[in-house]
Symmetry: C2
Subunit: 437 residues, 2 copies
């Protein structure tokens, strides 16, 4: 395994190879299935794999391509879907023993429909922590199976890292895309809040939930996001050979006290490389009100979970994992006035965080996690990611190296609200510098 694989291992590379007649969707799907066979007993990234269905669709996509027809940028590309997202004909288990007994979904989530329309082959459902919260999943980190892959998009990150699929869909309410992507040494994108449909996705808190892609290159993140956000012009142009300098704001007051020294050192080295490549780095303080953010984020998340679960929870308390149960109990005890105050704070902080960019910055930079993946008894700390889920600004996380123990380390870049394409362009620039270090 490598942090940044050969382009042939990325979705964009696969698409180019299919287009050039060098491979087929069937061959790509078969390779994914064989990697799942090889390692998934150990990694447990998948809840279910639709072998026959995926191969049948791949055959169909290959047949279409042979007649000169492609559906979109993901034509023939296999994708894993986090098991809180409805896929027609498959049970949406949401990591819960209760939900796993339910009937199959009778229609695709809106985002799955968009992926299919763009030609994607739905390979199967990837493991989520129970109801996308904090209870440790069966999934293990492909770099070291004694460690957590992070959560809640545990299976999506682990599957992409292990090469079982080039891209997968995750979702983030606290740190559920960025944290597992970073722990597993792959890339995650949490788009601007509200820009990717949550229709057909099991919610935690509708004012915090963000679906988004996990992949192994910025190009692949952009390819999937262009489909999920229905960009009018298709893909973004990521090449920025002529860019002379990226203006990076290093965010200060952003929970530095929690960050592992090894990760801090790796980030300092990355910044050195970026500056050598011409980037300008500014130290920027978090906006006023940041101290209250974690408590308000937790309150909104707990209340949202409690609102969605309360009837089921009252009846089936014992079927809930301890972390999600505790979150729901907290939410049930919250008052409407505290909730309203928290939502007002959220709206204010979203504007303030967006204003931090001023006219002078292209991206904000922070650690993607507080350190490398801890052992498998937890899913790690979302402190670095929750502020972005709360304020809704888009983020991309990129691997930058390894801990002494051989576990991946990552940085997190944030862009302006609705500046997702600009963020991806800046991330592609950073990726080019950092992958060759």
């Amino acid at each position: 395994m490598k942090l940044y694989p050969e382009r042939s291992e990325t979705a964009a590379g696969m698409a180019a190879a299919m287009q050039a007649g060098l491979t087929t969707s069937v061959q790509i799907v078969e390779t994914c299935l064989s990697r799942i066979d090889d390692r998934d007993l150990e990694i447990h990234a998948w809840v279910s794999v639709d072998r026959d269905g995926a191969l049948a669709v791949a055959v169909e996509r290959d047949r279409e391509r042979a007649t000169g027809k492609t559906r979109g940028p993901l034509h023939g590309i296999p994708i894993g879907i986090k098991d809180i997202v409805d896929v027609e004909g498959m049970v949406t288990g949401a990591g819960s023993p209760l939900m796993s007994q339910g009937p199959p979904a009778d229609r695709d989530a809106e985002l799955v429909g968009l992926l299919r329309n763009a030609g994607a082959v739905i390979l199967g459902k990837t493991v989520t922590t129970q109801f996308a919260c904090f209870d440790p999943p069966p999934t293990r980190n492909p770099w070291n199976v004694a460690h957590t892959p992070g959560g809640s998009s545990s299976g999506s990150a682990a599957a992409v890292a292990a090469g079982m699929c080039p891209v997968a869909i995750g979702s983030q309410t606290g740190g559920s895309i960025t944290r597992p992507a970073s722990f597993c040494g792959v890339l995650g994108c949490k788009p601007t809040f509200g820009t990717v449909s949550v229709d057909g996705v099991v919610p935690i808190a509708k004012s915090l939930d963000h679906p988004g892609p996990i992949a192994r290159s910025v190009e692949d993140l952009a390819m999937v996001l262009s489909v999920l956000q229905s960009w009018p012009s298709g893909q973004v142009e990521l090449s920025n050979e002529n860019r002379t300098a990226l203006r990076i704001g290093r965010l200060r007051g952003f929970h530095e006290d929690l960050v592992d020294p090894e990760l801090k050192a790796a980030i300092d080295q990355s910044l050195d490389s970026l500056m050598t490549a011409g980037c300008l780095v500014y130290d920027i303080n978090v906006p006023a009100g940041f101290d209250e953010l974690p408590a308000h984020h937790k309150l909104i998340m707990a209340a949202g979970a409690a609102a969605w679960h309360r009837e089921r929870f009252a009846e089936h308390r014992d079927d809930y994992g301890p972390c999600v149960a505790s979150l729901i109990e907290e939410g049930l005890a919250e008052s409407a006035t505290d909730y309203i105050k928290a939502r007002e704070h959220q709206a204010v902080m979203s504007q303030r965080m967006n204003s931090v960019f001023g006219d002078d910055l292209d991206v904000l930079l922070t650690p993607a996690t507080i350190g490398p993946a801890p052992d498998a008894s937890s899913t790690g700390n979302p402190a670095m990611n929750a502020p972005w889920s709360y304020t809704g600004l888009p983020t991309v996380s990129l691997p930058i190296g390894f801990s002494e123990e051989g576990l991946p380390l990552s940085i997190q870049l944030a862009g302006r609200l609705n500046g997702d394409s600009e963020l991806l362009r800046a991330s592609a620039f950073c990726e080019r510098i950092l992958r060759t270090r």
Copy 2:
């Protein structure tokens, strides 16, 4: 007093007369002041009148006009502002003994700035019920001072009805524009939710609050709304001589059981006139979920009020009127999960109510109130208006006649979300038919 005055008594007529050199802003302001002197001891529409300030601005507007410059459609037109809206240099009393002791506002509410930029002369602050809730105000109904003018925009409606100003700004969270406008025999417009700024306006519940105009013609409503909503093309063209038929949906299941028979009969007559004029009238049922609307509306309003007031209320409980105190206490006791469920219901009902129009309807029609203004011990029942505050669809209310006791009766027209201009055009059509009945 007449339900529909001569055009010279409307803002549009005044603007035309000023433009033609037949009158001046100073003369218009002086007429308003003299009517206030004549009747306001009896009606109590005003908290404060800025005589010197208004006359000074009128002089300035007249001077500008003499040099060929006009600021916008409201150039030289006097306007009353509900006393929950900040006007620089004036105390925002919000009908509360506590707030009335506060310092003057240090800047204009955003909407006041827009009015001034369009040339308006701010005449003074009109009476609101305490914190725009249900405690009866000192204001009386100009048609019969034993009766309420309605609330909470009590002073705005009474002032316009008594000719003390051609237009005034109100706000609605339940029925606070439509109800007082209807009880006072003038016209009210509650715009689409979120289209008029609430910056600098004392809130009840931010997810329900709508500022909007009260006036004596649809043309005047449109003139003020074009400024409040910053229409790119200025005013809407209200003439629709060529319209052959307005397709009206008479809403069924909309609290008919509460409606006074006298009002029902007047509405039937209005519909007859409209049908004679070529309109098509369809009976349309309220959408599923309507039964739960009143309870959820109340919950959101109470929780919003409680969130805004809770610190002040804890300290100054005895300074609150009984109705607003009871609302706040109800809100303080509400849970976050009930609030979230109510907000989700609100979002669903907004879409469902908007879908009622289908392709076939121009407007929905209901009674504007449950009957004529009751006595002054209450502000009347907002049941006919709260569904529109909840769903956010725009409404216009129009006088259609009088009760046996001589109190005004009105209909309420609703348009599609963001279809405010179309609603005003349809309302102008109805006004032309109904005012000549």
